[in-house]
Symmetry: C2
Subunit: 120 residues, 2 copies
DNA sequence: CGGCGCAGTTACCAATTGGGTACCGTGCAG
DNA sequence: CTGCACGGTACCCAATTGGTAACTGCGCCG
């Protein structure tokens, strides 16, 4: 009944030793990962916690609040008896995905050079 | 006799309320500006201080050292009797300029939306 | 009634970042 | 001999970031 696939717990297992990358997207450390989680549509808080298990609820909330404040994410609270909240990309947020992909492309292209530089 | 134009003191006067931008390039706050100063060729420490007058020498040194460590900038010390040091972009550093320009383009395109979001 | 899932919040703590001010040694120019 | 430009260091401090652990209130399930 779900419109899109669930997020996988290992979504960020292998990628992104992100300290190597000379880019940062969004205000804080986890913003880029959150944005990627929202690519396919709205997600609930607890859905986001699955791939971002390494991030404590407090920190995830912080990240989401900042993203909301800056207009990249829309938070919606449903007043069904049982509490439900979703987060989704705004137009502005979605427009960030393309630059993000370009940066990932850059990083892939220059991966070896980055590693070389760090070793010495 | 200088190969390229001097850097202007007002180079960064008007632009970049950079806290608005959802991007960060390089490890620290000033890295992006330093890279832009080196676009046209090697520069001496004191040349860099002109447009970056707001940045104390200590902080500028930090920034340059990080950029050097990460392989984006090459530091060269000349053993002429009078002390001379230059900084220039490496190939890797130069390759960062293009993504930087893309991000600036993105920022210009979405400037209004960014402002709107921040106001509310 | 007990406990669980949801969507957080609160209190507290440690590390990192960012920055100011002052100072240093060398080599010239006057 | 004095002083200045150069390319930084040394020392200290404040703010921000990132993080843990514990707790909250609500509704539901059994």
């Amino acid at each position: 009944m779900q419109r899109v696939e669930a997020l996988r717990a290992d979504m960020f297992e292998e990628i992104c030793p992100s300290t190597l990358l000379p880019f940062r997207i969004g205000g804080d450390k986890w913003a880029a990962l959150v944005l990627r989680c929202l690519e396919d549509g709205p997600r609930r808080f607890s859905e986001l916690r699955v791939p971002l298990a390494r991030v404590s609820p407090k920190v995830l909330t912080q990240s989401l609040r900042t993203l909301e404040r800056d207009g990249f994410v829309l938070r919606t609270q449903y007043d069904e008896p049982v509490r439900r909240v979703t987060y989704e990309l705004t137009g502005l947020g979605r427009s960030l995905l393309e630059p993000m992909r370009l940066m990932c492309a850059w990083a892939e292209d220059h991966w070896d050079e980055l590693l070389d530089a760090r070793e010495s």
